[in-house]
Symmetry: C2
Subunit: 592 residues, 2 copies
């Protein structure tokens, strides 16, 4: 290994172009590949900006030629030489018009044979990739993702500053929420037997900042949730957290639309037309069975409950009652795409969403074809054709079940069919605000209402009277921003009236003592002058996934955790000394 000494980089590999021809340059980077060709050695050198080819000529500098002959993949080298036009240009490389005719090389660091290849699509398993993250992160795909992520947060910050939002840090060591099963706890050594909790969101602190008169706040901040991790969840995730004073829904939505427009334009050069479309929660559920519909394709839901109101077919009849429904999606001119085998697979798929079955019908040679045709009256069949305007080669898939099952199963089916038929234009971005959420959601398990967003969300003014009498009808001043079927952000106007906040807690089944224990320090602040305020929070990981087209959250995070919340690189979490636990006033209690 040689020392850097007085050698200095004059330009990055990936930035060399024809305009540099004739320049004497020094580049530094990793050996991507090397080929010996008689009295020449070709070395591709990679740095953060890209790859450039250097040629070592035995006749120019024998010593450099010999050193270059010995380099291997992933050696770190410094190469000096003159830029010249390349004989066989490579159109696939931005630097493909030129090469460095090299007369000096320093080997700054050697490399053993790397356990995974440093190139995209190396077919290494994700376990291998995560174990060798320092190599995986050298891949162009991963570098592009992290560079796009840095660009995204930079542009967000620019926008927030231009609009007078103040970047204010909130604490990471917080008060645990009573029964906060999802809190990560942190034992205190100074206060033995006491615990902090890592924040699930800075919600209360950002509201306190509004109470304190900071007017507009933002923060890009790590949040934490100790829960079972789905594919695209991480125990620590990053939020863009925003709050503003003296505003109502329209003000928050309008400034966020400008933010979204700027981010998509400046990061990936996509134009977002404003205003962004809006849809009420009810409409989204009715048309797509989802409060985060993907609008890049059709296949809207059709309510068929009326059509089968008098059906003798048990599977339908049983679902014409309150709380149940019969809905279908029409795939036009595509009946031939669905073999019996294929449909049976779709039915299996629907059943994973708890659907009891999947009915279908198609028009073939002018005939109504369906396995359930024999159970249906002519009136029903005609009603169906008429309602859906079914034509030759159209096929309809029908699910009859509890509303939630219909929405989940048919919603998932809608997406699966679009994917199978390749009907999703991946270059398209469909933005949508969902508004008028219900304030409450009925939790069957706990047999009580819970907050659909969180307990600080303000009800819509004209629904406040129904808070006690008809909670399920109360709409919230809440809004989610959905992009291509992913919820990227969500927020609300907050309750700023202590009395209303107390009614809200009561509706959620919290006693005064519980409310005090959980949120006392916010309620107390509300005694001393609270401005109307509201805000939003975005999932930065998810936003960057959308911007980079990544389908795995771990591909947009430098050092992610696995689905079992471990870091394969460092080995975290690990066990610790008993003595260390004793200092915290703790001991292990692992017996079952």
């Amino acid at each position: 290994m040689e020392k850097l000494g007085s050698t200095r980089r004059t330009i990055k590999c990936g930035n060399l172009r024809s305009s540099h021809i004739g320049d004497n340059v020094t580049v530094m980077g990793w050996v991507q590949k090397k080929r010996n060709l008689g009295s020449l050695v070709f070395v591709d050198i990679r740095d953060v900006a890209g790859i450039v080819q250097a040629v070592f000529d035995e006749d120019l500098n024998k010593e450099a030629f010999e050193k270059a002959s010995d380099v291997k993949s992933e050696y770190v080298i410094a190469v000096t030489g003159s830029v010249r036009e390349r004989q066989s240009k490579n159109d696939n490389m931005p630097t493909g018009d030129i090469e460095i005719y090299a007369d000096e090389i320093k080997i700054l660091s050697v490399s053993e044979t790397p356990p995974i290849y440093v190139r995209d699509n190396d077919d290494a398993s994700e376990v291998m990739r995560l174990k060798n993250r320092f190599l995986d992160l050298r891949k162009p795909y991963m570098q592009n993702n992290l560079i796009t992520r840095a660009k995204t947060t930079k542009i967000i910050r620019e926008f927030m500053c231009e609009n007078e939002f103040l970047d204010i840090e909130t604490p990471v060591l917080n008060k645990p929420t009573p029964e906060g099963a999802r809190d990560y706890l942190v034992p205190s050594r100074v206060n033995k037997g006491s615990f902090y909790a890592l924040p699930q969101s800075p919600q209360i602190f950002k509201q306190l900042l509004m109470v304190s008169g900071y007017d507009r706040y933002y923060q890009i901040v790590k949040c934490f949730r100790d829960e079972d991790l789905r594919a695209n969840r991480q125990p620590e995730f990053t939020q863009l957290d925003v709050e503003m004073s003296f505003v109502d829904i329209e003000d928050v939505i309008s400034i966020n639309e400008r933010l979204i427009q700027k981010v998509f334009k400046e990061v990936i050069d996509v134009d977002v037309t404003l205003p962004i479309a809006r849809m009420s929660y009810d409409e989204a559920m009715n048309r797509y069975g989802s409060d985060k519909p993907d609008l890049r394709f059709g296949y809207e839901f059709n309510d068929l409950t009326d059509v089968f109101a008098n059906s003798e077919f048990n599977a339908f009849k049983a679902n014409t009652v309150e709380g149940n429904s019969i809905k279908g999606i029409v795939i036009e001119k595509s009946a031939d795409e669905f073999s019996k085998k294929k449909i049976s697979k779709l039915e299996k798929f629907a059943k994973t969403y708890n659907a009891k079955g999947l009915a279908w019908a198609k028009i073939e040679d002018g005939e109504f074809v369906s396995p359930v045709a024999k159970f249906l009256s002519d009136e029903e069949k005609n009603g169906l054709v008429e309602k859906l305007n079914l034509e030759e080669k159209d096929i309809v898939f029908i699910i009859a079940d509890k509303n939630t099952v219909v929405n989940n199963a048919l919603g998932a089916l809608r997406k699966k069919i679009a994917e199978d038929l390749d009907k999703i234009d991946k270059s398209k971005f469909e933005f949508l605000w969902i508004t008028d959420f219900p304030l409450f959601e009925y939790d069957e398990e706990e047999d009580r209402y819970v907050a659909k967003h969180h307990p600080f969300t303000s009800p819509v003014d004209e629904d406040i009277d129904k808070l006690e009498s008809n909670p399920s009808e109360v709409r919230a001043k809440a809004y989610d921003i959905v992009i291509n079927g992913d919820e990227i952000g969500g927020g609300s106007i907050r309750i700023t009236d202590r009395t209303l906040q107390q009614r809200m807690f009561k509706a959620l089944g919290l006693s005064e003592e519980e409310a005090e224990a959980k949120f006392g320090f916010l309620l107390n602040a509300f005694r001393y002058g609270v401005p109307p305020h509201g805000g939003i929070a975005y999932g930065i990981d998810r936003l960057v996934m959308t911007l980079t087209g990544s389908e795995n959250i771990r591909d947009v995070i430098a050092f992610p955790k696995t689905q079992s919340a471990t870091c394969l690189l460092s080995g975290a979490p690990t066990d610790v000394d008993e003595a260390q636990l004793h200092e915290l006033g703790l001991k292990l209690d692992l017996e079952e």
Copy 2:
């Protein structure tokens, strides 16, 4: 309480100026004060931008007048009216030339009598301030601090982006360091009995990012240390963390000087002349007894060991041996400032730094005056006068002790005297790089060498040979930036050679197994091509203290912890349910 409805703010209170005279405006904010004056009510309204006066005239709008008559301090109101020239201008307020002649008022929120005044210097105790932080944060002083903090990080980010540093997030849930007594631990629920640790710094991850080819990294990031908290420490603190590849010391220092220059210019309009002065560690210790000397005032150390080499005075004689010394600082023309009582106080002060005593001597009426004069020979007295060039009314304070005690006690005394004599120009900023730190520090308690910075710091090239034979002489490629006697940042060029890194671990008394357990995943990465790299980390809290002239770290943090690591606002940390602990495989173990 009234609703915002369709009322919208048109301008911030603090932004109103003469140029707005004649405009119809709506402002929103908190009632700072209210005065009734016959048929007029004057209300000062405060928002994030400042304070403006509104006048309600009974003759203009009786209803508004009456409502305004009823408002109290800290009510949140919206006021609409026309801007007019003020009759009695107030030069102390930026808005003092105008007032709002108001014909509409909405009371958006009422307030009880606040427990602390919302104004600077309210004399509330810090406990009251922290308990009512949402009110304390309304004070202009606190708002200015947090706004300056937001501005500081904004400007830092601009600079980092301009210079192609990538903002990359590193994990918060990390692997615990074996015996890492200062780690905050986080028990894992998914992996019961295992623990994460909160990062003390992202050191290893940022080095991995260099190994991964990210070239230039930065992050403004929370770090954590579970230790006994001194006045200006917090359990969670914010770092600007920086790392660069293909660089040596000069590259890192030069780019950081430009960063410092930009921050001081753009945040507080202070010009920093480059290059910033440098001083070796040895020189700083010799001249100021400190590796973070405050250069805003003189009082340099004078080594008097030679002068007293043959002293018969025991207190001096005993300290002419290796490892001890006799040093003094001269306060010129100031002997009259030091009464016997004052000097006795200074001696007490020095003793808190373990000094055994404090000697002094002055020239008064041409005479050498000192309580220890009788123990000194004429040669010694003359030698002292000559060496220090003592003149009429000069006074010298002398400490003879172990080197570390002399440095600490005389260093502290130097600062105290400067403060007492008001010799520190608070408007002045003195910047200084300290370089050539020793690589190791001898830990008397543990009877072994420990890393002065951290174990990844590279030794100076020409000292590498002494790593085993003479570790105390090995200098590090490390540098600290000191401003007005505070260490604001520090960093180093890192070791990038596995063999050298292993020699370093060995010198620190780590076995191969221990090194592997602690740093294995970094050592492993070093097998596959490491670029030369180095970096720096700044304490953002401390930097903002310097920029705002705050002396309390809690004044630059929105929601700080006390010295016993509690949050007086939320009550964190708290105890948690046994069930919650059980889920984590833990139980309390609090018996002594």
